[in-house]
């Protein structure tokens, strides 16, 4: 299932899927990624990280101090000035390479809709086969806003030519973490 998910997600364009056994390894990767993208404490170069189960047990204060420009308090202004947004997702859908988010909380939307790069965390075992299977996993009774995200923001509105990064992210990084749940 993971292989299909990875293949389909990457087929959506400008998307890479990574898989790590432990949270520590995933965190190392994200830190490295942030560094590579030259995140700094300047408008336009922030990284905003919305509240995620992944962060349980992570000393966010220390991390923010270590990585200038990385913000854990996601306000509209910081999100608007961010290059990278990081959120944790609820489910993956294999046959379309889709990720599902509970978007009810504003910070989840801010950190996923405004930046140039969206890093999505996913417990490796939370991947279902298809959309009908997904619809048995999440339900409006427990989430007022469910968002499905597949690849970057795109358009073909001018001459049917594909262009990436219209209103939302132009690059997507999916970080699957076995330690968050990883039997897949």
């Amino acid at each position: 299932m993971f292989d299909l998910f990875k293949a389909k997600a990457e087929a959506a364009g400008n998307t890479e899927v990574r898989r790590f056994a432990t949270k520590a390894e995933a965190l190392d990767f994200i830190e490295g990624y942030i560094k590579k993208e030259e995140i700094k404490d300047v408008v336009g170069s922030y990284a905003v990280w919305a509240d995620s189960p992944f962060l349980t047990g992570v000393n966010t204060k220390a991390l923010a101090a270590k990585v200038p420009g990385l913000k854990f308090d996601v306000t509209p202004e910081l999100a608007r000035g961010s290059k990278i947004g990081i959120t944790q997702m609820e489910w993956g859908i294999a046959n379309t390479g889709t990720l599902a988010q509970d978007s009810t909380k504003a910070e989840q939307r801010l950190a996923s809709a405004l930046s140039w790069i969206h890093i999505m965390l996913l417990p490796s075992d939370r991947i279902v086969a298809d959309l009908p299977a997904f619809m048995t996993k999440m339900h409006p009774s427990t989430s007022n806003y469910i968002a499905l995200i597949t690849g970057p923001s795109k358009t073909a509105d001018i001459e049917r030519v594909l262009a990436i990064g219209v209103h939302g992210p132009e690059r997507v990084v999916i970080v699957c973490v076995d330690e968050l749940g990883g039997k897949n």
Binding site: K8, A12, T75, P76, R80, N95, T96, G97, T98, S103, T104, K105, A106, E107, R109, L110, A113, L114, D130, L131, P132, M135, T136, H139, P140, S141, S143, N144, Y145, I146, A147, L148, I149, T150, G151, P152, S153, K154, T155, A156, D157, I158, E159, R160, V161, A163, G165, V166, H167, G168, P169
Partner: protein, 708 residues
Amino acid sequence: MKKDFKQSITKALKNQNLAGILDRWNYPATRAAAYAGIDFEALRNQIAEIKGSAAGRLEELAEQFKKSAEAKGAKVFRANSPQAAKDYITKLCKEKGVQKIVKSKSMASEEIHLNDHLAKNGIRADETDLGEWIVQLAHQRPSHMVMPALHLTKEEVADLFSKETKQPMSNDIQKLVKVARKELRGKYFEADMGMSGANIAIAETGTLVICTNEGNARLSGLLPKTHVILVGLEKLVANWTDAAPILVALPKSATSQLITSYVSMISGPSQNTDGSTKDLHIVLMDNKRTEMARDPKFKEALQCIRCASCLNVCPVYRLVTGHVFGHVYTGGIGTILTAWFNELKQAEEIQGLCIQCGRCKEICPGKIDIPELIVELRRRLVKEQGLPLIQKAIYSVVNNRKLFHAMLRTASVTQKPFTSGGFIRHLPMFLSSLTKDRSLPAIADVPFRDAIKKLKQPKSKEKASFYAGCLIDFSYPHIGQAVVKVLNKAGIEVVFADEQTCCGAPARYGGAFDVAANNAIDNIKALNNPEVSYVVSACPTCTVALKHEFVNTLQSEGKTEWLPKARELAEKSMDFSTLVMKLVGEGRLSQKDAKNLGKLTYHDSCHLKRTLHATEAPRKLLTGSGYELSEMLESDICCGMGGSYTIKQPEISAVILQRKLENIHKTAAGTVAMDCPGCVMQIRGGLDKEGSTISVKHTAELIADSID
């Protein structure tokens, strides 16, 4: 046809931007790739069932939706009329002091011209979907339901952006998109209200499902504290899980994608960025939808999921765009929706654009018989307003077989000054447009009905009745002779009922069902003969009339006493190639000693492929006869004949024909085969006008000698 509508067609045909863009997209192939591994028939049956059942209980589902969404904290307003929807939204804006709105795509808002109304009330609404924004900047209407600015080139978009930003602009599409990002980003932060449409409304959970690729719907609903979602009642489905098949099909049919980049499922308010709860207003708009749901025929149109695939495959839409073919809603389904949401009269000109090729019906994920519903519109227009004078005169002749046939016989004499080599190449005066782009066939000296009496046939107990149709009877009798020759070889004697007349297809497709019903009755009387095993026709349009339409026409006209006999006739009716293939299969005919007859290409006639589903039989018969088949591009796209379409829309028909001829030329085949005398007339006429030497033949003519 009114003059200004005719002018709009002429103007549209001069600008082929959209046709070129659709060609480069290659929708049929990319769509097929998106559906790989999916049973499309099963999927669309599921969607038709879900949407059809919802259309049957719109009122109940609307109330259930209201209750569910309100329980989640949304405010739901049911607007019966466009005015009620506009008033509610304007009042809300005034109460909240809203001056600026960011909008993501909503067809319903286009339908009620909401932006104009808001502007009159001093409220500025900015479209944020890139295509919608471009169209807004251009002060135009969308030309396509899914890709609103498809008719504009990148150069035209660059000009618009340059005007808006007062900056010079390059024509680079990637750069233009980034300009839009920058310009619109600010608007999301400044707006007092966000507004969206929705693709699905789920009654059980009070959920609105919104699909976008750009992410603009997410942003419209993110920053402003008030969010209004305007949605038509036809988007309702009963249950949460009902949304799945629609979500599976919509992106594949709309843009050849597996899924859109973003799907938002909103069930009640979400959190604002300051921690407060969003003020979520849902306007459920009726505007004739419940009335439509009560109509036994047009209820089906509510199964539409607005994917616009009927536009993408339409040979006419691509030439004239939605600016001519449609109003707010465009193309085939747009014609139907315009007739209902606006008024029947408004669709009067637009409906005449449909050539009835049936290509849209094949790919519609809502399983809507769009061409049939357009014929029904025509029927109602004729009922309401009567027929145009010329059509009336023609049908009154067709309605009287003796007069009709006498006129055709007279024509074979009076045409003499204009004919040469079996063609009429130029007609004088007001008839000249008929021969501008194609030569017409001359009326034969001896019609088939007379010729068959002189044919020597073996006597046999097994008989087939030949239904000639007007073209074979009076212009192409040799096709009929080929049919007789082939069937005789199988030991079948062919009989001809002299009382047979026009199949009624022209009248039916023109909406004159009373004339079509009379034609049906005359033919039923003529052809019902217990001695014959088959009623065979070498014209697919006629075969479809005999096999499928007589029953339907008679039902529509309330002439139910004829139904049993119509069904009996339908049972026996068969097209030529299917019957011959059956006889080959039974070992009664064979194609053993085929010689190499050279390269041939095959044109699939619309009715033969899409209603009779005979695509393999003629190909097998032709290759079995020794022809080497070289498939042309778009072999199943209409040749532009469409019955009387060549007369009603000569300009469009000529452009469609031109494309067909180009595709034929590209194969370098010396012969083009087809199973329809109408297509023979169109394609042969077009090639003759070009001075081409390619031979245009009916399958019957090509196989008659080689089969035994």
